[in-house]
Amino acid sequence: MADLFWRSTKKPGKSAGSQPAPESSKFKKYQNETADAWDAADDELVKGFGVDPDASRSAALAVLARYSKSPKSPPPAPQESTSKSSSNNIPKQKLNIPPKENAATNSNTEESKTKPKSPIIVSPGPPNKSFTGLPPLTDAQIARSEKFSSAINRDLTDLADLRELAWRGCPPCYRPICWRLITGLLPTARERRLATLEKKRNEYWKLVDRYFKLSKEPSHKDTYHQITIDIPRTNPSVPLFQQKLIQELMERILFIWAIRHPASGYVQGMNDLVTPFLHVFLSEHLRAGEKFETTNMDLIPQEALREVEADCFWCLGWLLDGIQDNYTFAQPGIQRQVSQLEDLIERIQPDLFQHLQENSVQFLQFAFRWFNNLLMRELPLSAIVRLWDSYFSEAGADERSSLHLFVCAAFLIHWKRLLLDQCDFQGLMMTVQGLPTNGWGESEISEILAKAFMLRSTYTLKQLS
């Protein structure tokens, strides 16, 4: 996926070779202009960004060579970063945390200077050897890499810039930090990142200490029971998810989230929504050549797992907070979106719409889970992760939901031929509930996103009360 990721993304077409990267305020315009420029050569992309390919390549190779010599230690943070990440150099009022916690954080920070830690805070280079096992980087990849590195390593990351980059997909090694920044888990100010992250992680574990015992209480037993039924059924074909450590981790995340959100509580499907975050944050701790699917959790340091769990919790919360009306009583968010999808298809593809109608297929019958599980039942996990890069490039929850809706429309339209070939309710339902997306990766997702983007710039959604 990492290889494909770089190639078939949207590329600056008209602006290639002549303009620098557009300003973030012109993002939408930029997207419009570039949406159709799919086949520009990689070289053009590099030129378009005004990056010298040779310089990029040699820089990247130097980085890779350095990490491959000491695969187990994280990339050394640049001098400047190290000093900035130490709270000794930061005025206390800037950290915005109580003195007591500050002291605790302080010691953790000191510790982090001596103890190898994950490189997520300040130096998001390829974090371990597993990334060096990939095929050599192309010029375009190097150029993109540089863009991410520069956006992330700024003293104050411009989220609009980062989102703009994320639209075309995050390089796997930058994805964890990119997602943490976009979801607000990491602050944009680089000097505050380490302290904030430590604080959030501690906060999560305090919640666990305080609330997880409620899972045994009669008032929460049903919620906990439902979570424990669903967790073993989460991606059951992926061995990782059958491991006790992962299942317990998911239990805590989902239970704590559920009892803090009584309006919706836990609803089936939320278990699926944890997995992309797990995929991304665990990737920082995989060893060379190790696959996410078959990782042995027992070999990952406990402290690392605790960090992954906390990060997944906060990011899941961020995602769910924006779509909570999908999960409240009668699921109004889903009903609205299914109705909007139906209305869109009627306008965009009247023949497909009519075909479904004539065969008595209702949108709710197949699209319910497209919204309840954000297409996670329809696409492979790695494809979802790539899709979410683009979702996260949206400025807010409403925009993310709108993009998802147009992605669903593009997804349905993608299968139009296959669906039109089905001549009855049975054929249509069996087809639409088992669409053949097994081999889907970067190129298919990019195609769907391009289509969704084009549709969104052409059609408006039906407004529903």
Binding site: R233, S264, Q268, N359, S360, M430
Partner: protein, 213 residues
């Protein structure tokens, strides 16, 4: 493939009792231990022969998730049969049957044919006795069957029993004219209703889920 009747049958019951496994065992003769929870509803179909008639069962495998109920209860409409599943090793899923039965009474055809199914009898940890479950079923006018989706015991007969009973109701009224319709020909549809005097409804009256082609 042609058939004479189309019966819509819903599979309901608490989460994790094995509804999807029962559906897969019945329609595919498969048991997949790596099955995911059902979100909303999933469909499956199987055609069987009853007294010389080709009867297609349209199985609506619903999720047991409480939160979906507001949306999925609409799926009960037009169903003429229900397989109401509990797990013989989990008394709570048996106790929930009362609630499921009342859901069916509220949203499905009032004369819906119901078979209560105690699943997972292959497990050694049974906690609900056959007598207890039979008593519940009898009291409500339901059939009772015990199954193991794992080894297949009872699954076929549970569905057959439901389909046969529906067929008998329809047949005894002598309202259902035998009419073979070629699959794929749009418009020539017929649904089976148990309440109405005319079992063969006009196409325009059909709920969308009961279309036959």
């Amino acid at each position: 493939m042609s058939y004479d009747y189309l019966f819509k049958i819903v599979l309901v019951g608490d989460c994790g009792v094995g509804k999807t496994q029962i559906r897969n065992r019945y329609t595919l003769d498969e048991f997949n231990p790596q099955s995911k929870s059902t979100i909303g509803v999933e469909f499956a179909f199987k055609t069987v022969n009853i007294d010389g008639n080709e009867v297609k069962g349209q199985i609506w495998d619903t999720s047991g998730e409480e939160r979906y109920r507001a949306i999925t209860s609409a799926y009960y409409r037009g169903s003429v049969g229900a397989v109401l599943v509990y797990d013989v090793t989990k008394p709570k899923t048996f106790e929930a049957l009362e609630n499921w039965a009342s859901q069916l009474r509220q949203y499905a055809d009032e004369n819906i044919v119901v078979c209560v199914v105690g699943n997972k009898i292959d497990l050694p940890t049974r906690e609900v006795s056959t007598a207890e479950a039979e008593r519940f079923a009898r009291g409500n006018g339901f059939f009772y069957m015990e199954t193991s989706a794992l080894d297949g015991t009872g699954v076929e007969s549970a569905f057959r029993q439901v389909m046969k009973k529906i067929f008998e109701i329809v047949d005894s009224r002598q309202q259902a004219r035998k009419k073979t319709v070629r699959a794929g020909s749009i418009g020539k549809t017929r649904s089976i209703k148990l309440t109405d005097a005319d079992d063969v409804a006009e196409p325009s009256k059909f709920s969308s889920c009961c279309k036959q082609m």
